[in-house]
Subunit: 307 residues, 2 copies
């Protein structure tokens, strides 16, 4: 089973309005779903028919709404009950203004030492049957900055490979524990290294402990930099859509490839195709299955630099 | 005890951001409180030291958050549990743009026949000890448009006077039941009557069954049109503030006046002073107590037209 961990779980609420006019009142259409990057990864794996367990923190009544949505989705999940309330995100989508999206991300709960201990216990228990551990998203307040490093070390002790999708201090403080793959986007990669070259930035992360670096490049695809070599996967052009969740889809495909030991070029092509097929759907964690099959034949993988 | 009824209770969430930029992500400060016009009226009466009972619908986890907030506020309330979830409102306040407020009001639950029967039972039970019944705010979906009329008839059978603060069909369909006071604002009054004169519009509502009409006129104060005569209460100028809840404060004062049989000029002056003192505070249901005492001496009441 592929185990995903979401420490800063959210209830993602979408308000759809014809047009947002600052200073006025609106009557939005409302939909919501459980969110957070690890949840999105788990949804994608579930849709691919993979055996997946989503570990997620849930607090108070918002946490109950998150759990209810996950149950409805038929996703296998394990709640880590935390003391403070889980957060909401509200995204206002305007249908009249080329789907302009304005997001409000609540700061979210502060985890206690007991909350963090319970997270670790839950992850250790799940590692017994895990093929891959996926760690995604921002760290909630209250956790040590090397929290992901602690979880990676637990997995490595048990020979479970780990994919880490994080940025900033949550990423850098976790490298020493030796994640199998880290998947920053190009901006995050440049941010944490201060470098403006994909190769030299990934060299910095690999020197610090990451075994492989996969940088997501938006419409330009993915670039993998590993001990076995470097590859670029170039997806077909997806002219418009919703890039939210595209990175999570890439992580889901990389987790499958890692679990099955697929060669890097094939693994990267699959990640690029699934990511592009996710852009075609409005909701995170969903992808266009027909487009995924089509894109899988169209992605080009080579050793050259992207762009 | 003054009994307020809120059929479309809300959890009012306020997001404070320096500046809202459409198409981008924000990290707001978050506060929330139980809302809905009847809840605001009850908060004001509670702050005035009056005996008050707030009857409100609450559904699902949002309903639990509403109840938790009311408990914390020390307000006496009775929940009518409904099948669907209570709604949220989200208001985005920009601190850098002279407190520009952009509101998103979720449509809210649809009440079932059983929900509505439970509302009526709860109101009938509360009427046994009620001095005044206050009906405020929009009707949730699923209720008959004369829902307020049904509640008014129940109160009148038991000789309990009723204040109704509603607009549109919820107001017009309730008039035949004979509310003691209706309190539209000028715009709502003109809307339902098609008239552009306060006097002739209020004549229409009184001919349809309302005993008295009090129109709220924003900074111009209040105009009462009753069988005993017509008066205008002119508050002192409040140069800036938050008008949200000012109408609810006026209703709270009118309820006290109705319970105690205060003469109209005095009753109207009190309502105008309390309303103006509410504009000075940021949250609905709160007022500036010192300003209220000062304004009470400064309000001018006469028989002339407003403006």
């Amino acid at each position: 089973v592929i185990v995903t961990v979401t420490l800063n779980t959210a209830l993602d609420v979408t308000y759809t309005v014809p047009r947002m006019v600052p200073g006025t009142s609106h009557r939005p259409d409302v939909v919501w779903q459980a969110g957070g990057k690890g949840i999105n990864v788990a949804r994608t794996l579930h849709a691919l028919g993979r055996d997946v367990l989503a570990i997620c923190t849930t607090g108070s009544s918002v946490g109950r709404e998150i759990a209810l949505d996950l149950s409805t989705a038929g996703l296998r999940f394990e709640r880590v009950p935390i003391r403070e309330a889980s957060r909401r995100t509200v995204t206002v989508v305007e249908t009249d203004s080329s789907a302009l999206a304005t997001a409000f991300n609540e700061p979210g709960p502060c985890l206690s030492g007991e909350d963090w201990a319970l997270v670790q216990e839950t992850v250790v228990r799940a590692l017994g049957s895990a093929t891959v551990l996926v760690l995604s998203g921002s760290l909630p307040r209250g956790l040590p900055s090397d929290a992901y490093g602690v979880l990676i070390a637990m997995a490595r002790e048990r020979s479970v490979p780990v994919i880490l999708d994080a940025s900033g201090a949550a990423l850098t403080a976790a490298l020493a524990a030796g994640p199998s793959v880290v998947k920053p986007n190009a901006e995050e990669l440049f941010d944490v290294t201060g470098s403006r070259s994909l190769e030299s930035a990934s060299d910095v992360l690999r020197a610090a402990g990451a075994e492989a670096v996969v940088a997501s490049l938006g419409p330009l695809g993915l670039r993998a930099m590993t001990t076995e070599g470097s590859w670029t996967a170039r997806p077909p052009v997806v002219s418009e859509g919703n890039p939210t969740g595209a990175g999570d889809a890439a992580v889901a495909a990389l987790a499958v490839g890692l679990a099955e030991g697929t060669p890097w070029p094939e693994r990267l092509a699959d990640a690029a195709a699934l990511s592009a097929a996710t852009v075609l759907t409005p909701r995170a964690g969903e992808f266009d299955a027909a487009a995924y099959r089509r894109f899988a034949r169209q992605v080009i993988v080579d050793n050259g630099p992207p762009g």
